[in-house]
């Protein structure tokens, strides 16, 4: 774990943990427990050397948490009925989103493919997933260019610009995004099939993919938390 700075956990471990994360967050009954759960995810982010991301993620959640509490305690009926469904959704989705973002930012595409190969998952499932995994960082690049080109036309890509003219803003973001996405998907697919991604041989990897003690430990911790949550929910 000390040697490999980037990838301390096996991609399979991370995916199993993601599934557990979905189960847990759908079963949690109070927002205090959610807060604890987000805190645990933040700790896991720190173990993965994403301290900044962990802090940011936890602080944003803290804000959402207090806004929820204040709305419940002091908000008028209208405010409550306006905000609660939205906040409820945020609470349910937040831990899973945070965890998925962690996985996306710490997993290399090649590493993911090889790990899935070792786990015996079919290429029919893993290749599209890998293309997706690879496509997400290009969106950020695309967005930068699109922002520039909107400014050049005198259209503001900010939130204020969106309020002023929502249809135009959406059109300007939507059409280049879609066109670039279909182009990128084509090019990524071609780049991978011309280099033999469909080969039935077992894929190797230059990055050592190990299943170590800390993977076992993380999985046990994940399963324990899940069992605890299930027990609390159904048997108490």
């Amino acid at each position: 774990m000390k040697k490999e700075s980037n990838a301390p956990f096996n991609p399979c471990t991370k995916i199993v943990l993601l599934f557990l994360c979905i189960i847990i967050s759908s079963l949690l009954s109070s927002i205090e427990l959610e807060l604890i759960f987000v805190f645990i995810i933040a700790l896991f982010c720190i173990i993965n050397k994403k301290t900044k991301f962990a802090l940011k993620g936890f602080l944003i959640y803290l804000v959402v948490y207090f806004v929820s509490i204040l709305t419940v305690q002091y908000g008028s009926n209208t405010l409550r009925s306006l905000l609660m469904p939205f906040l409820g959704l945020v609470h349910k989705v937040y831990p899973v989103c945070m965890f998925s973002m962690l996985i996306l930012s710490t997993t290399k595409v090649g590493e993911f493919l090889s790990a899935m190969g070792y786990a015996g998952v079919s290429k029919k499932i893993t290749i599209p997933l890998a293309v997706m995994l690879r496509y997400i960082p290009t969106v950020r690049e695309d967005w930068r260019y699109i922002k520039d080109s909107m400014y050049l036309r005198g259209i503001s890509p900010s939130f204020f610009g969106f309020i002023k003219n929502p249809a135009l803003t959406i059109e300007c973001i939507y059409s280049p995004m879609i066109i670039m996405a279909s182009k990128a998907a084509d090019e990524l697919t071609i780049a991978s099939i011309t280099r033999g991604i469909e080969s039935p041989k077992k894929r190797t990897s230059i990055i050592e993919i190990r299943f170590d003690f800390h993977d076992v430990f993380a999985l046990i911790a994940g399963v324990l938390i899940t069992v605890l949550v299930i027990y609390r929910r159904f048997f108490l």
């Binding site: 290399k108 595409v109 090649g110 590493e111 493919l113 090889s114 890998a130 690879r134 960082p137 290009t138 690049e141 695309d142 260019y145 699109i146 520039d148 080109s149 909107m150 400014y151 050049l152 036309r153 005198g154 259209i155 135009l168 059109e171 300007c172 059409s175 280049p176 066109i179 670039m180 182009k183 990128a184 090019e187 990524l188 697919t189 071609i190 780049a191 991978s192 099939i193 011309t194 280099r195 033999g196 991604i197 469909e198 080969s199 039935p200 041989k201 077992k202 894929r203 190797t204 990897s205 230059i206 990055i207 050592e208």
Partner: protein
């Protein structure tokens, strides 16, 4: 080695044949250049050889294609990938990994080669191609030239017998083209078969054995190296091909700077705490067409973005008409045609595109400019259905309709053939009188035709060359 016989191909949903009765034989170890205008079928030929036609690009394919006496169709895609290596035009998305090391060995990993051999191949590849500096880097932080080197390396690591390259030089500066040339000669010397489709052909003249000239999907003629080099300049122009010799930058500098319209003083640009441009001073007048030159990754695009008010991290002053400007002010005065114009086409038709976000764009002016740009026949079409050259002309036309005083083009010639290049030059010249035009380019042939001044970002502003 490669044998194409009676190949006809029509892309699905296309009206016309892309390839028309192609007969071609390529021997082992031959170095073949496929030349011709955009849309002449150069890329389609390479796709028949690497089986992307019909495996990925569907359509009607007739005729037989053989590699090593076996039908291409009898190979599985992954089997073929061990024999034929393909390097593509756009280096941005031909990567499947985000780090360079994994990318270089990606093909080998797919073949299931054990880790110690992967490491050995990685080391060998980086040493032979002299790219040790690029190991362990994030692909998103590489310049266009560096990306192209990695793309080449990842194919080289697989050690195929046949290399297919589709316009590999289109985003490269001149020193990087020299590197590409050196890499290609490594292939030639080790007896590999190389097939390369390209507009900029000068750097291949020492290497080629055979030049194929294509027009309208047909092989018009096949030349030996000697025959091709013996063609006269006029014949090359008539074929609409680019120069066969390396062109030197040769621009007559005009100087009328008594009352410059644009003045840039003590200008420094930063990107993530790195100083890209340090203390630059220059001025320009309306009517000037300025070539912005400098190698890949030196910061040409960032410079242009700062000039257009899209990048805020700078020190110094930009004066327009002797008045200081801030970023917001400059955004109103400038327009940029980006390297990839797909980002700036938004609307559902060409005509609507010309009106989008532009105040007081009169229909008459739009009609006139579209007519000048040969786009009036397409005015109700969706911009995405246009060809690359047409899209670029549309982006330029939109800029002219905006009628901004400073007009900026970021590498407008990448992927343009001779005819399109000349057309772009003529149009820009016609509208340059009341504007200052900046063009970032690696293309000396293009710069010589159009620019009257040079801004060299590496040697600072030079009055003359």
């Amino acid at each position: 080695m490669i044998e194409l016989k009676g190949i006809n191909f029509t892309y699905k949903n296309a009206k016309n044949n892309s390839l028309n009765n192609i007969d071609l034989e390529i021997k082992k170890g031959e170095f073949v250049l496929i030349s011709g205008a955009s849309g002449s079928g150069k890329t389609s030929i390479t796709r028949v050889i690497n089986k992307l036609i019909p495996y990925y690009y569907e359509g009607e394919l007739e005729g037989t294609a053989k590699i090593n006496n076996d039908l291409v169709s009898s190979y599985q895609m992954f089997e073929l990938s061990e024999i034929v290596g393909s390097v593509f035009q756009n280096p941005r998305t031909q990567f499947f990994n985000v780090d360079t090391n994994s990318e270089i060995v990606f093909g080998l990993e797919n073949q299931g080669i054990p880790r110690d051999i992967l490491k050995k191949r990685l080391k060998e590849t980086c040493e032979t191609l002299d790219i040790n500096k690029l190991q362990n880097r994030n692909i998103f932080h590489l310049s266009g030239g560096e990306k192209q080197k990695i793309a080449f390396a990842s194919v080289y690591a697989m050690n195929p017998d046949i290399y297919l390259l589709d316009e590999p030089s289109s985003n490269l500066d001149i020193p990087t083209i020299e590197v590409l040339k050196r890499h290609l000669s490594v292939l030639k010397n080790s007896g590999k078969t190389v097939i390369i489709s390209e507009h900029r052909i000068y750097y291949l003249m020492d290497l080629v054995d055979k030049v194929i000239y294509m027009k309208n999907g047909q092989i018009q003629k096949s030349y030996s190296k000697e025959d091709f080099l013996n063609l006269s300049e006029d014949e090359i122009k008539a074929m609409a091909l680019r120069c066969r010799k390396k062109t030197k930058l040769n621009i007559e500098m005009s100087n009328n700077e008594k009352h410059p319209y644009l003045q840039v003083s003590d200008f420094s640009i930063y990107r993530k705490d790195n100083c890209i441009i340090n203390n630059m001073n220059f001025s320009a007048n309306k009517g000037d067409i300025v070539a912005v030159i400098g190698s890949n990754g030196v910061g040409k695009t960032t410079f242009l973005r700062t000039l257009c008010g899209l990048h805020d991290d700078y020190k110094g002053d930009v004066l327009l008409n002797s008045k200081k400007t801030n970023a917001k002010k400059r955004r109103q005065k400038t327009y940029m045609v980006m390297q990839d114009v797909n980002y700036q086409l938004f609307a559902e038709s060409v005509f609507a595109e010309c009106k989008l976000g532009i105040e007081n764009a009169s229909d008459a002016l739009i009609e006139e400019i579209l007519n000048e740009f040969d786009l009036s026949d397409y005015k109700n079409n969706h911009p995405n259905t246009l060809s690359g050259g047409q899209k670029q002309r549309l982006a330029i036309a939109v800029g002219l309709i905006c009628n901004k005083e400073i007009f900026v083009l970021d590498e407008p010639t990448s992927g343009l053939d001779y005819t399109n290049m000349v057309k772009t030059v003529e149009l820009l010249k016609r509208y340059s009188k009341d504007k200052i035009i900046f063009i970032a380019t690696h293309d000396t042939e293009f710069a010589n035709l159009i620019c009257n001044r040079v801004l060299d970002l590496e040697n600072r502003w030079k009055g003359e060359l």
